[in-house]
């Protein structure tokens, strides 16, 4: 069964550094998402992406964040200058089309900012 994959599984970085989290959504899915889960807190929506542009973003998704689908298969989340509070598990999800509401999640990338 097709799955969403994410790399790396864990990333440790220094405050102020740039990080890129990578996701490969399920083939032929059209909608892509990033969520994050700070330890002990709920999973929060960050951004949705469709037709090569951002559809919606949350208040968390400020100018330090960006998303890209560079090659038709990968979907990346970039944090330009990481802060301590960016430490979290980041989940990528994809959804087949506008008629199907189920989102399929990847295993997550645990980001630790020191």
């Amino acid at each position: 069964e097709p799955e969403v994959t994410q790399t790396p599984s864990h990333q440790v970085t220094q405050m102020g550094q740039e990080v890129i989290l990578r996701c490969v959504p399920i083939s032929n899915h059209l909608y892509f998402y990033w969520y994050r889960q700070i330890l002990g807190q709920k999973v929060e929506f960050l951004v949705s992406f469709y037709n090569n542009e951002i559809s919606e973003k949350s208040e968390i998704f400020d100018d330090q964040f960006s998303v890209e689908r560079p090659d038709g298969s990968n979907f990346t989340l970039k944090i330009r200058s990481t802060k301590l509070e960016d430490s979290a598990m980041y989940f990528c999800a994809s959804r087949p089309n506008e008629y199907q509401e189920t989102q399929y999640f990847g295993p997550g990338t645990r980001l630790l900012v020191l």
Partner: protein, 116 residues
């Protein structure tokens, strides 16, 4: 705005006992409702979903959930818990209408511990 409340942060049950995890939602219309499970070190796996029709929905691993509009609830149940069910369970609501602005709102999760 949509929201989800999972009142129980942590539940402990004995193996073989029945289980009910509570979920209440707030949404202006009929929502799409989901239960996801997260095992340690794993991602979010879809257990079941409710969109419309029969209010009792069956999922994987022997789980079921019942949508009760009058109570704004979507509680997850299992008649007999197995040790492998120990995990964190998340209830989520999605806005009807789909489209490019569709997203999920999650509850804080309920951590399930299963005693032998």
């Amino acid at each position: 705005a949509q929201s989800v409340t999972q009142p129980d942060i942590h539940i402990t049950v004995s193996e073989g006992a029945s289980l009910e995890l509570r979920c209440n939602y707030s949404y202006g219309a009929t929502p799409y409702l989901f239960w996801y499970v997260q095992s340690p070190g794993q991602g979010l796996q879809l257990l079941l979903k409710y969109f419309s029709g029969d209010t009792l929905v069956q999922g994987i691993k022997g789980f079921e959930a019942e949508f009760k509009r009058s109570q704004s609830s979507f509680n997850l149940r299992k008649p007999s818990v197995h040790w492998s069910d120990a995990a964190e369970y998340f209830c989520a609501v999605g806005a009807q209408g789909g489209g490019s602005n569709y997203k999920l709102t999650f509850g804080k999760g309920t951590l399930l511990t299963v005693n032998p």
